[in-house]
Symmetry: C2
């Protein structure tokens, strides 16, 4: 097969005609496939249904310390739930707060409270008119939506092979006290699949920000979500590392069981220094009466500990990995030889990141939609939905079956080719 | 029996000596009773345990429209949950948002978002330096804690027989655009037990506030919590009433099932106009991925509709009412003849409000603590915990058993007498 860039105009026109015919055929199939959202497929959720056999009308709903789980009380989470989630977050149980069903809500609350009340006695962020936030890109659209809502100017930080460009991060945070935070997904990052190297984590732990209320929002959403269970990526734990430098107050860590048990009915957790936990707890006591302890209990009984989580996640991996491999294999066959795209095959997480030729991402997503395949919007992995090169497309293989994923990727490949041919012909 | 105010100094001294001897005996019993928190007793929670038999590993967890309850999605709540809670809140289902386990958190979020983002396009409240809030007193300490945290100057509004002093409310809100809200518990109010009269509700619905972003926080926490099931108080629904005046955007209503199913593991709900719901929804989509739909499903299956709720609450009433009656009967016997206190016997809700002689509340609470009976702190039902007359004590009969409540009230009565004798002797 010839690369597109090596083709003559005639060859490109011939290829285009063939692709258009193929595209027409696909459209006539009237498909409706979705590679847009990192949500589990029903069969994956079935794997956790036995959790509901842990509680029935005769169950004694008591915590290990005798707490009546059905009544008021216990603001920061059951001790046993804090212990479980501390093993996921890799910190101490008393450095953990258990939240509701969404870690996103914990992150939102941290920004929201800081806006009105400040962080550890600092000026409320709402009073910092030129407030800024660092955003490693491509990244997670829902992170960027929070800081956009609260009026932060978002600054793109390029992602490298081993994490964000730390030279840039170090320079910016040390110089500008109006930079209040950075969004990070340190393991199997959304969407690049990158796991931050030990060196990157150490440089995060050693940051010397100009703002004393600068916070690293360390969203470890895929902490235990290995696809390659024999040879997973290993992330250096940030909080212990930061303690070595006395920078532990700079760290907010988050995770949840949304993609361990039930998306939307799991439990979330936050990990932070004692000083941060105490301060958040003082505000939380006014915000809520405490989160659902019965759900915490069910999660602890079901998952038990980090080993239990690992065993459960191995079942997920067995279901998810073939979808990633199917996508990879089709892209290798259809796209690689033509020189019109690159992509990641991560050892964990929920996404494949596809890099199209510059200027093609929007067109590919539009074509795919026309052909019955929904993709995450082009631009979504960037602040303000602006991909400067219009080249990144996030592929989410978790929801479709392997067979659907194969079909969807074949259609996707056709769209990539068509958009790329159009690009070369327009040049 | 002679009233204390009619006793001579000698009689008072004799009474004091007898009370002190009795008090010493009580202390030696080493009791530990709690009338402080409006929390259900375990036997009341047992009444709802069969809810957990509604779901097991084979249950098809689907919403009525086919939504997979275990997966992401559905931001404002399952349609069937919105319908159920609309019957409690007395508004339309599309005027309802279902929240997490705490309506307090919904209220906090409304204030918090308004602080940073404003209300329906208004100036963020954080930019209103002299922001103020109206607080009918005595009221609910957790309400006041929210507005204190966010820096509102809180203005006491006296509670009358049929609700807050509306002359004062109308005058203040029409004159001062820095008044942004008012806390209301319109039915079986915490702690007075008052249900707002139709006239008061109509005057609320007809308010003409100077601030276009003024909001009535209508915390209908005891909407279905009748003790006198044959002859309950009936509250005029506020949202329909406000629509008659075109003031519906002024209304935020809240409720939860914390005291219907499980305290801390129920579902909460907010009711508001379409314009408010749309605006909150737009912010909520950034705040969270949506609340726990499985818990919503369980509540709908269990409670079914307003009739189902009513039937369930009649069981609660049968358990709760004897505790209220026991307290009332002891106070009638021990306190009434002495002219040293008044109290409420509400037709619903969770509290008896005791009015001691001015200047005695703190002393009574301290004495009770010494005697092994924990009461809500004196002053708690007031902003900044300052009861101007030091006379209000909130009694919560829900947690102790009838027998414990009898014992606790007898001890309480002894403390009231002792504090009152001391007062007369000091004059």
């Amino acid at each position: 097969m010839k690369k597109y860039e090596e083709m003559s105009r005639e060859e490109l026109l011939k290829e285009k005609a063939e692709l258009e015919a193929r595209f027409k055929e696909i459209k006539e199939m009237g498909l409706n496939l979705n590679m847009a959202r990192g949500k589990p497929e029903p069969a994956q959720l079935d794997m956790t249904m036995d959790m509901f056999d842990l509680v029935n009308k005769d169950t004694v709903l008591e915590g290990e310390d005798g707490t009546d789980l059905r009544n008021y009380g216990v603001l920061t989470g059951l001790p046993e739930a804090r212990k479980l989630m501390s093993e996921v977050l890799e910190c101490e149980p008393d450095e953990v707060i258990i939240g509701g069903n969404a870690s996103l809500n914990l992150m939102f609350d941290c920004v929201s409270r800081a806006m009105s009340l400040g962080v550890l006695g600092g000026t409320p962020w709402s009073q910092v008119p030129d407030r800024k936030w660092l955003c490693p890109v491509p990244g997670y659209d829902r992170h960027f939506a929070i800081t956009e809502l609260f009026g932060f100017e978002m600054i793109n930080i390029p992602m490298k092979e081993d994490g964000p460009d730390m030279d840039m991060v170090e320079k910016l945070v040390s110089e500008d006290p109006s930079i209040k935070g950075i969004w990070c997904v340190p393991k199997y990052a959304n969407p690049t699949g990158t796991t931050y190297s030990d060196e990157v984590v150490k440089r995060f732990a050693a940051l010397k920000p100009a703002a004393s209320d600068f916070r690293i929002f360390w969203d470890n959403a895929y902490a235990v979500h290995d696809l390659d269970v024999e040879d997973p990526d290993v992330l250096l734990p940030l909080l212990p590392e930061s303690k070595k430098n006395g920078t532990e107050d700079m760290v907010y860590m988050f995770t949840s069981t949304s993609k361990i048990t039930f998306a939307g009915a799991g439990i979330s957790a936050m990990g932070a220094s004692k000083a941060n936990i105490d301060s958040i707890k003082a505000q939380l006591t006014i915000q809520t009466i405490g989160y659902n302890k019965i759900n915490q209990y069910m999660h602890v009984k079901y998952l038990k500990d980090r080993e239990g989580v690992k065993a459960h996640m191995a079942k997920h991996a067995a279901m998810l990995k073939p979808k990633f491999l199917a996508t990879d294999s089709i892209l290798r066959e259809e796209i690689a030889p033509l020189g019109i795209g690159k992509w990641t095959l991560p050892k964990g997480g929920y996404f494949i990141c596809f890099y199209a030729l510059n200027g093609c991402a929007k067109r590919i997503v539009a074509l795919a939609k026309e052909a019955g395949v929904t993709l995450t919007g082009a631009g979504a992995p960037f602040p303000y939905k602006k991909d400067p090169d219009d080249c990144v497309i996030r592929i989410a293989p978790s929801y479709p079956s392997v067979e659907e994923m194969r079909q969807a990727t074949e259609i996707f490949a056709c769209c990539v080719k068509l958009a790329s041919v159009e690009k070369f012909l327009a040049e």
